[in-house]
């Protein structure tokens, strides 16, 4: 996982200004945001799947 973190630091998220910006947000806050996004995305997937199974129009997300 350290190797992957190094990849993040070599990307555009790893520039000094991006690192400074990231440093202002706690991992707790970003973690909650990410978990909400993952939950919402999976809910949308379930909705789409059940609509398809019923043979109704697929909702664009």
């Amino acid at each position: 996982m350290n190797d992957f973190q190094n990849k993040i630091e070599r990307s555009s998220l790893g520039t000094p200004e991006a690192r400074r910006a990231r440093g202002t947000i706690s991992s707790k806050v970003s973690g909650e945001v990410v978990q909400r996004a993952i939950r919402m995305a999976s809910t949308e997937t379930v909705k789409k799947t059940s609509r398809n199974a019923r043979g109704t129009r697929t909702e664009r997300t």
Binding site: F4, Q5, S11, S12, L13, R20, R22, G23, S30, A37
Partner: protein, 264 residues
């Protein structure tokens, strides 16, 4: 999942020592050389973005790697969007990127107070779309020159208008609801549900009337009392005013609104 950056490194980066050191290293170069060096750095970062995305493709944008990447992306997005909201730049940024002209908030202070919530909601939506509509279908292409983080901020700006419109509608609705109770009337509350079709007209009217209150201190006192239901004593504490001054300010706000209504 802990941060891999050690505290000394984080401090050095946060204090700007890294970029300062880089500037000193480049001091002997001509401006053209500096531009070449910057361009090389930019290309290296784009290559880094590409390598990162390739790694995520292998894990199908799922699992621990994706979560770690999304965390860092979210931190960056949150910092940028919060900053633009607090510095009153966000509506201009949205307009500049062609994502629409948004109506100004009733109270700028309220927008700043809610900056964290608005940024959180924006980044949640942007993360979903960025993964499903940009990264997985391979829409982002490093050869076109935009970095991953720039692309993500673009996505945040695209998502912000819907988040903002919903927030703004709530603000107007709250104000309209209160005004239906007792802003324009003295005495007991006379709540009545708006007729269909009346709501939009009412919102516009309220927004215009609220503009009649020009003194920010009066507006704030009235807003805290009217919208949030704080007592005169509580408003006085919050705004560092006397209770008598709050009562007087709210009276002035009511008069200004009533006069605005009469002349409308």
């Amino acid at each position: 999942m802990s941060e891999s950056t050690n505290p000394e490194e984080a401090h050095r980066l946060n204090s700007g020592a890294h970029s300062q050191g880089m500037d000193e290293d480049l001091a002997w170069l001509t401006s053209a050389d500096v531009e070449v060096a910057r361009r090389a750095e930019q290309l290296a970062r784009l290559e880094g973005d590409r390598a990162l995305v390739n790694d995520l493709v292998e894990s199908n944008f799922e699992g621990k790697k994706y979560v770690r990447f999304a965390n860092e992306l979210a931190k960056y997005g949150l910092a940028v969007i919060r900053g633009w909201i607090r510095r009153d730049l966000i509506l201009a940024k949205v307009a500049t990127r062609g994502f629409g002209q948004l109506e100004a908030p009733l109270l700028r202070e309220r927008l700043i107070d809610d900056a964290d919530d608005l940024a959180n909601e924006t980044v949640v939506r942007a993360l979903i779309v960025f993964r499903d509509k940009v990264l997985i279908p391979g829409v982002w292409d490093p050869r076109k020159g935009a970095s991953l983080r720039t692309f993500f901020i673009g996505q945040c700006l695209k998502q912000f208008p819907n988040v903002y419109r919903s927030w703004h509608a709530d603000q107007v609705r709250n104000f309209a609801e209160y005004s239906g109770l007792n802003v324009f009337e003295e005495g007991p509350a006379t709540r009545r549900p708006p007729e269909p079709g009346e709501a939009l007209e009412k919102q516009e009217e309220i927004r215009t009337l609220f503009g009649c209150v020009s003194d920010e201190r009066v507006k704030n006192a009235f807003y805290l009392n009217a919208i949030h239901g704080f007592s005169y004593a509580e408003v006085a504490t919050k705004l560092d005013m006397t209770e008598k001054a709050v009562e007087s300010a709210i009276g002035r706000a009511r008069r200004a609104i009533r006069e605005g209504q009469d002349t409308a």
